[in-house]
Each structure stands twice: as structure tokens, then as C-alpha cells.
Symmetry: C2
Subunit: 696 residues, 2 copies
């Protein structure tokens, strides 16, 4: 969580430098950072060679599908069209916060076939002009620009890289700030700062775009996150770069000198060759193809796959083949990560505001990093690039942002012993990894041949830690709340939660579906009815309106959650459906009136169902930054609209509580959780019996 | 789960025939079953060739470790010693229900080193002699036999194969039974019957060993489970083979004629070649070794592994290497599947009693089947045989009962983007699969290099279904409770639960440990304290006595569950520990006074902690069959003994609710759930940073 400091920015910068020399942005990485990445221009490291390699530059890409993302040409066209628009024509300062495909209406997409021309290509543009946020639709065919009068009551658009990079060093122009750093014994040359979204905590913070800056010492370590200048927070106006406030409440806290902060292999004293080489081999190559850049076809599945600056990965039009009819059947119109929420559990001055909404504030896709072959994805993986727009409206390529591969872990797909009948499970995985500053999120969409989709989130990376005067738990008075765990000398890992909210527009054999809560209830028997006193019974409740579908999971009041097509039955009369299958998760326990919880109110429930509405895609609201929580999933759902036999969207929130432990220092092993979308009476019978057993 | 019919019995029989021709049991498989298994003696099928292959017959095995299971020689010695014992010397009928190693006392095992001689080898024997259950210890050195006067107030020992096979056909000697079958239109030649444990439902069923028999038609299908002769249940005295009662309440229900019941690949009309060949390759071979038959060493782990007739797989003395000191540190003294509970949710006459305790009633290890290479376990797997004792006391080999392999699914062990630092996860998997009749359980113990142990249970196999007159849901009156889902014409999949209870004798750096509930609680801020209204705080509660550690999981009152060594601290003063990390699970909702729930009261909580006691290993009691629930984990825990800083055992119950759906017909795709044992301040820091990144 938190923003990916100058390192990320520089990573992008380096990418720019190598790939888009002609679109050279107005900054250059300091040489020490290049050294840090081991990526001097002549570096022999495979990582650097990959970065420098000649990826297809995408300049001649054309869209092939109504849902294909904007191409480089199209983004350039948007910029050119808008440059002649009155708003951008003046000398007013402006910045593009998002230039993204405005997807055609659902019916258009559903009706479209490959033989048809594409529907008109539209761009959805979020820009700030002269201190005001605007939402435009740009028609690339007609060049028409529509300005939407949907200025939100609160909130600002997603930060641009320029917002982040320009604010990091702004405090250095403030003499008091420089004195403070020097007083802490930190050489200004060792300074590393992070721009942190500040949430919203009342009037004082309204009416202007603000950001908070926290700083670290990178002396003697690449892992400056472990060297916080504790208690120092600078409040900055992002538009004027003015320092509004310097809060320095940590003067008595030393910069941690904890050893072993370097996580790089070269720095490890103990080199561990624990296992022999191992790889997944496919002598005939992978079994999937990616047609027209975005259409993935594998086994009995096909879906459209693209990168998105805000959502990261978007899966659309997911269809599975019916083994009996051969027909490709609709399962999900669109699925993606809608919002994240990462509240830290420390109410003190330098920490209370750390309650990040990563997708809306920073852009989950913008923070997604190039995947490292063999380490982030196994052999035979296919890599997909992203094309995004910078703040000046110029397109750039984020290489290898998504990978697609087949996984085979040795899990058994099904078995029964009476005959040698079993099948080993091969799954298709779509992966991205976002480093939102210190934290790394790995999002996997896994497709199984039995029709199951597993959505898995892995957390790794570096903890956001707090400096402390304590070097040993012995020194801590019993009643003192550390707000976390002492991880090393002077370093506390602060307790925090992670929530990842998914948008799941399920279309089971068509758009109009119903949500059915199949409640598992104890039924006591009547006297004399049975030697048993009790048994469990499934009670089906069709959700009529949104409030019927606000679900908090309970182990002792369990349910299945079916999305069914009420108008389509199986041969023997069960409605066809898919179920949302929660697994390990965590619920937010914060006060619903606490400002961060209001803004992240999508975490008030684990499941929600809303009627499909083009404008309701972002669970924390379209303009999330400094928002007050007026445009969230929770607000929409309170309208309690009818959802029975309608085009519905299911929202699932996956949660983690994280009490850090020493094993998370200086970088944490991956923790994963998942949920499933699983056929339930969707197929007439087990769809994978025809898969042959394995022989040598 | 029910018992594994004649097919299983015949599978065993075939194994016997091929491997132990000289120990030929008193039965022979009918030719049609050999054909069914495609395993005629001259069959070219790899499955059959494996069965017929010359596995090392284990006749010269000797024990190398105090925990090594009894060898063939030792089992023969037990039989020989007991044959001269007064009880077996008479002409009274007897049967051995279990001949298993009586493990040496913990201290002896812990102190033992490879240079030492083995402690005296003892056998624990459960036998029925002249209608009475006995528990013996046989000392193989001194030949001394100790008879334990621990006859339980209720319950009988685990069924023997002979109990099962001899009861299946017993009803055929009853004319009324034969008439009933014929009246149902089933040819006696098509009859397939299952012996089903009947639980305990009161006085009528006390004082003698009873079993219930349910029957099926195997006409036109190998999957007779889908052709129940619904409502017909025979109550049988197991010792006299007397038919006590024939209940036939299903005369109006046809034998289901549902199509597509055959699950074998050869029978599938749709052959699905969905994916190209894929395999896990290890050019230098696996990274683990198995020393002295039972000691597994892999990466930073070592543990003792053996098969057990009741528990299935037993992992002992699991130790992980500390990367800093190089020392092998104790994590778990012993871990195994202690009991299963599978209640069906139908209170009617032919179903109410189906509330199986599979381990205690049938023997989870006895039901474990030979694993099929490439289909049950991937390439490079190592297979371990089991040596068990039959009812006559003769040893036999269950080949390939356990496999050990390395898994590499492409999951990321840890990552951070600022430098190309990530590690792909390779895990070691120990697997067994038990077919308890229709159901298949797959139990995996997965070891990770970061110190995590994941225990995963997969469910597959065939549903226990119920016949019905309905062919379509249209025909079902709205108010009628089917007790399940219509899966195909005339076939209902009855709702049921699965619970798998694990015994986890954790010894974190020594035997004396404490159990700490780290409760995550909302803390409201005081007025003026913070702009935040609330945050979460970790509150540590050390469990003093057993009742403090009876845990029901709550999403909205979450905790971490640490097993710590209170006398050993990390460098910075945190107690070293492991935590039990629950994931998706289900809780039993049955009335605590319902007879099946009393017998399976280990499912009343998800976690329990007891002080170590040699005699408390089986959560459903030592003599589970027809038990009244007087010797269960719940009863022991109610003693509320002290557990702080003591040698403690953690019990975890993993649960599944299963509302069947059509995809489960005629055989279900695997459903899995797991829990983790995870280091928490056990290591000073992330123990896997020294693992090198992957390069081609």
C-alpha cells in the first residue's frame, strides 16, 4: 500500500527511456537509482536486457473487438481532438487523469460478431482543467466531444504519475522541512519520500487537492521502507506544491538501524539451494491461443482479456463450451478488481490517515508492473502489454503487464478408485502483479475445465512499518499498545487489513438473472418423526431487491449464493446457474461512521448485488481521491432497486487481517486467499468425464 | 460415506491374489468384477500391470526408527505370541480388528538418535474374542502380553474386511429378502449391496454388533450407486449373520434408469482432448530423499512418514531447518486424520442413520487405495506401501498407499517489484486417497520452504443418492422437501456434511507450549484522540485450561490462534510460535443432543486444545462403532485440564456442507478445503530470501 515512490516512477521512466525515446518525458532518473535496479544501460542482467529489448511498439495496433482497449493511435487521436476543444485551447493548466475506452452498450457488444464492423470507438476521458475535474466522451469517428455534467460532490480523479513524482520532492523547497530532516540526522542525499493519499477527515481537508508526504532514509539499504523518519508528515497542496503543514512528532524515535533489511539475492549471506530445478513442460506447447491480441481461447473456455489503468485486468465475455451441445455458453459479461481498501490500525498523528483506496486513488493497473519471466510466471507463459495514457495525454506501453499460462500442480480433478479413473487438473491462469509502493498484489483469474473460475489474490512485498524507540519486547511496558508487532530493532509492523472488491457482471445464459440465497438451516424433527433430532435443509430465497442481497457471511448460518437464469432450466428442471463460493476472508470491523469506512463502505458486506448500471463500476466511487463516501456501492445498494430476473452485477469483497510477524521482515512470503465462481446445475452433468487419463 | 462395497473388497482380493498367493483369503472375485476393473490376469492395461508387478514384498523389512510401523515379520510374531495366549488358545471364535505399533513414550522417541538401539518394539492389538472386545499390548522382545482392562462402556472396534465381506451377502440367505428384491424387478444376479454402519439410536441397538445393508442394481452400469433399491434396509447381526429386520418403504419408487451413469473414459461419447500434454519435469530428479523407508528429507524439512490402518497417513517429528543456525527445529511431534463425520440430512427410515464416522468405523487407512501413477500423483512421485494386518492376524501389503512429490504450480512464493526479486513456490506434497465406498477423500500434507504446512482435503467420487419417483422438478409439489437436489431422472443427491478432524501434536522448539488466542478487536478512539473513530487492536489471551481453547470461528470476532513456546523468545523478544490458520470451513449445525452429533462431538468446535495424553488420539473415541459418545474429544475437553506451558495437542476440524448439484453426477469434480500451520515469530525473519531467482 502506499504509493510507489520514486523507484516505481523511475522504473516507468526507464521504460520510457528505452522504449519511447521519442516520447521522452521531462525527467531523467538519477544515476544511483539506475544502479539500484542493477540496470545501467550496459547491464548484462537478464532483467535489464528484457527491459531494453525491442518489444513490438504497438504503434500500428488496430482494434479488432468492441472491447479492445484504446490503441496508441486512438489515444493520440483523443489528444488531438481535445487539443482543439475550448477547455484545452486556453492557456489553463490541464492534466489527463484517465483516457480509456468507453465500452459500447452491452447489447451492442453481445450482438456483435466478427463479421460486423466495430461499433463507434469512444473514449472516456477524465481531466483536470484549471482546477476543475471533467468527464468527457470523445467519439473517435465523429470527433464529437461530449462534456458530462457529472461533477461529483466530493472527490478527485485518480492521481497521475506526474502528481506523484512532482510532489515527492516538493518539500525540499521548504527550509523548515530540510532542517527537520537534518535534525533527524538524515543526510538529504539519503532521503526517500512517499506521496500518500490522505483519505478524508473533515472540513480542513476539503476544497483542494492535498497529499501527505512521509520520508525514509535509504542510507545503506535498498529497502528504505525499513528506515522510516517516524512521525514526520508533510501536508502538501498538490496543485500549488505549497507545503501547508509539517507535523513532526517523532523526534525521540531513532531511524531504525535494523540489520538484514536487504532482500536481494546477492545480499543474502545464506544462499539456499533448497530444491533441484523444476519446471512445467509442454512438449506440444501451450493449449491456448490469443487471437487478435485479446481473445483467449483455451480448452472449453474463451474470454476477452485486457489491461485497464484503474482495474488492472478486465475479463469480459467469458464463455464455456457445453460438452453436450458444443455451444459456447455465457457465464460472465465482465469481471475485474473494482476497488481496494487498506486501513492501517494506528490512530496516531502520522498514521491515522493511512486508509488507502488503491484502485481509485493510485490506479491498480497503473501500478501493475512488468512481470518477470520464470519468476512471476512459469515457462510457456504468454505476456500481454498494456497501452496507457500519461498525464499529458501521450500513450505509453507497460510491457508484460499480464501473463497467461497453464498450471499443473498435481491436483486431482476428480477420481474414484473402483476403476482407474482420475484426471489431473490443468488450469489456465491470467495473472497480474501490482506493486502499490511497498505492497505487492498478485491477482490471478484461474479457469478450470469443469467450469470453475477461481479468483485469487496474493499479498507479498514489503510491510509499511513504524519506527519505535524499543529494540526488544522486554522494554515495552505491559499496558502500551504498539499498534503492531516488533519485527526487528526499532521496527514495528503495524496491524492492517486488505480488502479487494470485485465487480462480477454474471450473465448466466443471458443477461437477465436472479440471485438466490440457498440458506442451510437446521430443521428439528417432530416427536416420533425420526430417531434423529435434527437435520439440515436447504431453503431457497430469491432476492427481490438489493437489500435482500447484502450478505454478511456467518459460519453458523451458512448459505450458498446462486446466480441463476430463472427462465432456463436443465433437462430435469433445475434453473441453470453459477454460485459464488466464498473461502477464507475477513470482514471490516471498523465503525460504519468512521470516515475511512464510509469511503470504503463496499467492505460493509462480503456480497452485494446491484442491477446493472453502466455508471456503477467503481465500488469506492468514480472520483475516489479525498471523496466523502457519497458515491459508493453501499449508497447505490441502499436504493434497494429490484434485482429479480434482471441484468445483475454481483460484488464480492475478499478480506485479510494482517498482524505482522517477524517472518514478514524484511519482505513477506505470499499470503493468498480466493473465492470461486462455480457451475451449479449449469451443466446437465459433470462436464469433464471425457478427459482422458494420463499415460506416459 | 459408506462402506466400500464388494468392488473395494474385490480390489483388495485381487491385490491379495497377485501379491500373496500363498496367503490366499477364503474368497475369490467373481469373473464379472475382474472384467469390470479391466484387470483380467492377462490384461495389458497399465493399471493392471502395476497391480501384478513384483513390488518388493517387504518380507525382509526391519524397523529403523522407533516410530516405524510393524513389519511383516513383527505382525507375524504378534500373531504367533498371541496364539499361545489363553484367550486365543481356546476354540472361541476371534478376530483381530487392529494390530498396530504401540509407539514408545514421547520422551524415548525424542531422545532417540540413530546411533541408539530401538526402544522395545510393542504392538497394540484390538481383538474380539468370543463376543468381547479386548485391548492388548504385546511386547515383541519379551513376548509379554498385557491385557488392558479398558473395556469401553459402549462401542465396538473398527470393522474388519471380513466383517464387511461376510455381511454383504448374508441377506441372500433370507427368503423374504430375496422376494423383496425380485418384487422390485431386480434380478438377484444384478444385486450389489453395501454394509453401512448404523450409528447408535438407542436401546434397541445396544448389546450386539449390528450393521445395515442397502442394495443397488448393477444392471447396465458399473456405477450401481446411481441405481438404489430405495427404502430397502436390512438390519443384520454381524456376529451371527442373522437378519433381524427388513424395512422396505420404497416399493413405489422405481429403480432409477438415469442415463450417463458410467464414468469410465471408454464409455464417454464426448472424448475431450482439451489440453496438450503437460508435466512437471525435474531434470536432476526430485529434491527429496526417503531414508530408511520412512524418513523424508526435503529442502529445509524432515519428518517421519508412515501409513496407519486407522489414520491413513501419520506425519511425525516434523522439523524445519533454521536458516541462521542450521539447526533442525521441532514443529510438530505428530499429525494425522483422527476422525471423519459424514451425516446425511434425511430423517426418513432408510436414511436417518447414515451418519458415518469413517476412521473409527471403517479405518481411514484400511480404505486408502493404491494410487495411480500420473493420475493420482504426478511424474517423479515416490510411492510408499502400507503393511496392515487382516482379521486373521496375517500381514498384507497395500501397495502405493502414499505418494510424495514436489509440486510447482507457478505460484509466487514472494515478490517485490523494485528489483527483480521473486521466488516461485515449490512445495512437497504427501498424499493419500481413501475410497470409503462411493466417496473419495484425498488428503494432502504440503510442506513449504517458508515453514508453512498446508493440510488439504479433497472430496471426489460418487454421491450417495436416493431414488425418487420424480423425473423432473415440475412434478415436485412446492411444499415437498426432497432432502436434496434432483440430479437426474429418479435420482436425488441428498444434502450432507463432511467433517475431517485432525490431531496436531505441536511441539514448538520443545514439548511444553501454550495456546494463545490473539483476538482482533475494534477499539473506539476517545473524543479528540484521533480523526479516526475506530481501529483494530490485537488482544492476546493465553488459554489457561481446555475450555478457554474451545473455539468457534466468527468472521466478525476474528482471532489468530498461536501455539507458542513461552520459554523461548526471538532475538527481539517475541515468543516463538506457529499459528493454526483456518480457511474455508463449515460447522455442524445439528442439535448437540442428537445422537450422531454426540458421537461426533469433536465437530462442536473448530479448534480444541487438550493436554497431551497417550490414550486420547481418536476424536470419536477408541471404540467408535455403535458408540454412545462417551469417549470423545468433547468429553475429554470438558475436564477442563490446565494447558498453559504444557505439552499440548491442537485439534482442528475441517468441514464441508454439500448440497449436491447436477455437475456432481455421475461422479463429482474435486472440492477442496485446507488449513495451514504457519510460523509466527518462529524465524527471526523471512527464511527464504536466500533462494535464488529462476533463470533459464
Amino acid at each position: 500500500m502506499k504509493f510507489n515512490t520514486f523507484l516505481l516512477f523511475l522504473f516507468i521512466a526507464i521504460t520510457f527511456l528505452f522504449l519511447f525515446a521519442r516520447n521522452h518525458p521531462p525527467f531523467a532518473p538519477p544515476p544511483d537509482v539506475i544502479a539500484l535496479l542493477d540496470c545501467a544501460p550496459d547491464s548484462p542482467s537478464p532483467w535489464c536486457i528484457r527491459l531494453q529489448s525491442n518489444k513490438p511498439p504497438h504503434v500500428s495496433d488496430t482494434p479488432n473487438h468492441p472491447l479492445d482497449p484504446l490503441t496508441i493511435k486512438e489515444i493520440n487521436m483523443v489528444r488531438s481532438i481535445l487539443s482543439s476543444h475550448a477547455l484545452f485551447n486556453s492557456s489553463n493548466p490541464y492534466a489527463f487523469h484517465s483516457i480509456d475506452l468507453e465500452e459500447p452498450h452491452k447489447e451492442q457488444v453481445i450482438q456483435w460478431t466478427k463479421a460486423d464492423p466495430l461499433p463507434p470507438r469512444l473514449a472516456s476521458v477524465v481531466a483536470r482543467v484549471d482546477g476543475h475535474s471533467h468527464l468527457f466522451t470523445v467519439n473517435l469517428e465523429t470527433t464529437q466531444v461530449t462534456v458530462h455534467n457529472t461533477v461529483p460532490r466530493s472527490g478527485y480523479p485518480t492521481l497521475t504519475f506526474e502528481d506523484l513524482t512532482s510532489t515527492i520532492w516538493a518539500p525540499l523547497s521548504n527550509a523548515e522541512f530540510n532542517r527537520t530532516i537534518t535534525n533527524r540526522g538524515v543526510d538529504l542525499a539519503d532521503l526517500a519520500c512517499l506521496p500518500m493519499s490522505l483519505g478524508w477527515y473533515g472540513k480542513k481537508e476539503e476544497g483542494r487537492r492535498l497529499i501527505k508526504i512521509g520520508c525514509y532514509s535509504k542510507k545503506d539499504t535498498p529497502n528504505f521502507y525499513m528506515r522510516p523518519i517516524e512521525g514526520l508528515i508533510v501536508l502538501l497542496d498538490m496543485d500549488t506544491k505549497e507545503v501547508l503543514e509539517i507535523s513532526d512528532q517523532g523526534r525521540n524515535i531513532p531511524i531504525p538501524k535494523a540489520a538484514n533489511t536487504d532482500y536481494r539475492y546477492a545480499a543474502q549471506q545464506q544462499k539456499l539451494n533448497l530444491v533441484n530445478p523444476i519446471s512445467i513442460e509442454q512438449p506440444k506447447g501451450p493449449s491456448f491461443v490469443v487471437e487478435d491480441e485479446h481473445l483467449v481461447k483455451w480448452a472449453n473456455w474463451e474470454f476477452h482479456l485486457k489491461a485497464d489503468p484503474r482495474a488492472g485486468v478486465i475479463i469480459s465475455r467469458a464463455k464455456v463450451r457445453d460438452p453436450d451441445t458444443g455451444e459456447m455458453r455465457n457465464v460472465m459479461y465482465k469481471g475485474f478488481t473494482s476497488e481496494l481498501f487498506v486501513p492501517y490500525m494506528d490512530p496516531t498523528d502520522a498514521w491515522y490517515f493511512k486508509t488507502y483506496l488503491d484502485a481509485g486513488e493510485y490506479g491498480f493497473g497503473l501500478q501493475a508492473m512488468s512481470l518477470d519471466p520464470l519468476n512471476d510466471c512459469p515457462k510457456n507463459a504468454y505476456y500481454m502489454d498494456a497501452v496507457f495514457a500519461a498525464a499529458d495525454g501521450k500513450p505509453y506501453v507497460q510491457p508484460n503487464m499480464i501473463c497467461v499460462y497453464e498450471s499443473y500442480s498435481g491436483d486431482i480433478g476428480w477420481r474414484h478408485t473402483e476403476s482407474p479413473i482420475t484426471g489431473m487438473e490443468v488450469t489456465l491462469v491470467v495473472r497480474m502483479a501490482a506493486s502499490v509502493a511497498n505492497y505487492d498484489y498478485i491477482v490471478d483469474w484461474e479457469f478450470q475445465t469443469d467450469g470453475l473460475i477461481r479468483v485469487k489474490v496474493g499479498l507479498s512485498g514489503i510491510l509499511m512499518v513504524k519506527g519505535t524507540k524499543y529494540e526488544n519486547m522486554r522494554q515495552v511496558p505491559e499496558q502500551e499498545n504498539l499498534y503492531g508487532t516488533l519485527l526487528s530493532e526499532n521496527v514495528i509492523g503495524v496491524i492492517h487489513d486488505h480488502y479487494v472488491g470485485f465487480y462480477l457482471d454474471m450473465d448466466i445464459d443471458g443477461s437477465d438473472n436472479s440471485f438466490v440465497k440457498v440458506n442451510i438451516k437446521r430443521q428439528d424433527t417432530s416427536p416420533g418423526e425420526s430417531p434423529r433430532k435434527s437435520y439440515l435443509k436447504a431453503v431457497r430465497n430469491v432476492a427481490k431487491t438489493e437489500k435482500d442481497a447484502q450478505i454478511q457471511l456467518k459460519l453458523y448460518d451458512p448459505s450458498e449464493f446462486h446466480v441463476i437464469n430463472p427462465t432456463k432450466k436443465t433437462r430435469i428442471g433445475n434453473p441453470v446457474g453459477y454460485k459464488v463460493v466464498p473461502a477464507a476472508t475477513a470482514a471490516s470491523l471498523l465503525d460504519h461512521d468512521d470516515p475511512p469506512q464510509k469511503r470504503a463502505a463496499f467492505t460493509n458486506n462480503q456480497i452485494w448485488v446491484t442491477p446493472y448500471n453502466r455508471s456503477e463500476q467503481w465500488a469506492g466511487g468514480l472520483f475516489t481521491y479525498q471523496s466523502h463516501g457519497e458515491d459508493t456501492l453501499a449508497v447505490w445498494s441502499e436504493r434497494d432497486r429490484p434485482i429479480e430476473n434482471k441484468d445483475i452485477v454481483v460484488w464480492y469483497t475478499l478480506g485479510f487481517h494482517h498482524i505482522p510477524c517477524q517472518e514478514d521482515f524484511p519482505i513477506m512470503p505470499t499470503v493468498s486467499a480466493s473465492f470461486d465462481l462455480k457451475p451449479v446445475n449449469f451443466f446437465e452433468r459433470n462436464p469433464i468425464l471425457g478427459v482422458p487419463p494420463n499415460f506416459e
